[in-house]
Amino acid sequence: MSAPRGLPRGLLAGLAGIALLALVTWLLPQLVSNYLVRVVIVMCINAVLVASMGLANGFTGVFSLGHVGFVAVGAYVSGILSLSAHAKGAYLPDLPHWLAGITLGFLPSTLVAGLVCVALAFLVGAPLMRLSGYFVAVATLGFLIIVNVVLINAVDFTRGARTFTGVPLETSLPWAVGWLAVAVAVIARVVYSPVGRRYRAVREDTIAAQAIGLEVLPVRLSAFMLGAFFAGVGGSLYGHYLGSFSPAAFYLAYTFTLISMLVIGGMQSLTGALVGVVAVSVASEVLRNLERGLDLGIFTVPPLYGASQVVLGFILILVMIFRPSGIMGDRELTLGPLVKPRQEGPGREIKR
């Protein structure tokens, strides 16, 4: 809590964290197969998306189904920006001149994608963040649908429903891990600060929040915009991981996957979001391998395509029945220095 000790210790912890991440990103590809490295990259991207989704959905209590809309915007914006001039000429001949002329690197195009999503979140959120409960879920679902329809019809920019391709495959393990570290550090600092306290107050009771001087709309909007930034970043990472994608990649199925990760892990906990990503990713990887069928010698399990989705749905139902606030509830794992609750006096941890 005390200032003089706090800063160097935080710095030290940060450096240690970075060193650890560097070691992991260097070591992992030496130890495991290419396939597993790719699984880890996707897990990192999903973790960025789920953690940022939890910011609005879990901490301010605005259940948005529109997060993947921002992911789509991030993927397309950064994709258009980082496409080489040659690829632009080949795939997007009708692009306006000012866009056709520029090619940005991976990092700048990712940042621009994030900022475009922030601006979009401001426009969308200003009217929508007044709503609560089911209304906001339905309205943000409307946003997702609008994004999808616009992407399909803005043929000059996106090739419509056809595959958008030629995006450089830049999302390596260090990039994915690095962005995840940034996202977690930023979200943790915000959530466990006076700003995050405002989020929780608004989530708990909007009337009482007003009675202690909080305007509900700007509080929610700031969380929504910060979440949208990392949705855009995650979209860019995903786009530069896939290289080719279509609007269908960023729609209802992906929304369901991310929401089940968030809900299973625990919406009101940052580490819960990460736990949810790992749990669901591992489960679906295992199930995906199983659904191709198994030959156990004595008897064979026939292929059951689609079984992984069914099982995932069941897991979600079971979690909702037996642990409605997710695996972590509102608690945090405090192993890593980056996710430790910050600058909270005694009484932050809740005794039960």
């Binding site: 306290r197 929780r200 708990e204 929040a209 007003q210 600058q343 005694p346 941890e349 809740i350």
Partner: protein, 268 residues
């Protein structure tokens, strides 16, 4: 918090009004909930508003605290009109309220409830949080100090880490009271603070309200159903019935007035 204490003599009649309503009228569809209400509260004064259910007490309360807009009439706080301000703005100007039956942030700890309110006067932005500015640390220290002091005041220091929703009812009431106080108000409005409390708890609460008033120099408006609480605590009482003010005066006068006896005490 101590610098917030003010030295005005409680209820001195020569000081300028802190709160002044006039012609306050509000209807819900065809029902007139409050008609032409007027009240003056001076700094440090403690005023009661009583009346049977449906008399317009809560409407009055919500109009002043900004949760409702009046159809007509004005609410002036410290000389400026506030009837069009939002509830949050009104808190910032210095009017804090509690709720009938409490509205705590139930899943947050006791201390977090108070901190959330105390940080209104010691704000920090998202940038402060990201960078970890000196301002953030200074604000956190002030907020923690205020929280510690206020929890001590109501004897909740030992339960700072308990989930607010798990507190016994009386403690929830006290917590809500200090949460309102943490916004450093000049006017504290209590909505039926004794509802659901027994006689001993009610007496304890009255003592607390009186202590708070003297220590922090806040004016208090108590909206109550419970006649006894109002009689012992308040310097002046306004009686409402069917949305209209039927009498205003000192507690003894109120008790003696035949119309009040008829409308409010009725057949007690």
């Amino acid at each position: 918090m101590s610098e917030a204490a003010r030295s005005q003599a409680p209820g001195s009649m020569d000081s300028a009004p802190l709160l002044e309503t006039s012609g306050l009228t509000k209807s819900f569809r065809s029902l007139v909930a409050l008609r032409d209400q007027a009240i003056v509260v001076r700094p440090g004064e403690i005023v009661g508003v009583i009346g049977p259910n449906g008399s317009g007490k809560s409407t009055f309360f919500n109009l002043v605290s900004g949760f409702l807009r009046p159809d007509s009439g004005s609410v002036r706080f410290d000389g400026q009109p506030i009837e069009r301000r939002s509830a949050a703005e009104i808190v910032r100007l210095g009017i804090a309220r509690t709720f009938q039956g409490t509205r705590l942030f139930k899943a947050l700890s006791v201390a977090e409830n108070v901190r959330a309110a105390a940080q209104l006067r010691h704000p920090s932005s998202m940038l402060d949080a990201l960078v970890g500015t000196p301002r953030l640390r200074r604000a956190a220290r002030r907020v923690d100090a205020i929280t510690g002091e206020l929890l001590g005041l109501v004897g909740l220091t030992g339960r700072a880490g308990v989930r607010a929703g798990d507190l016994p009812y009386g403690d929830q009431r006290r917590l809500e009271l200090v949460r309102a106080l943490a916004t450093q108000p000049r006017l504290l409005m209590l909505d039926e603070p004794a509802a659901g409390m027994d006689a001993a708890e009610t007496r304890e609460l009255m003592d607390l309200v009186d202590r708070i008033r003297r220590r922090f120099g806040v004016a208090v408006i108590v909206v109550e159903h419970d006649m006894d609480l109002i009689m012992n605590l308040c310097e002046r009482i306004q009686v409402l019935a069917h949305g209209q003010t039927i009498f205003e005066g000192a507690p003894a006068e109120v008790q003696a007035h035949p119309k009040v006896r008829e409308v409010y005490l009725g057949h007690a």
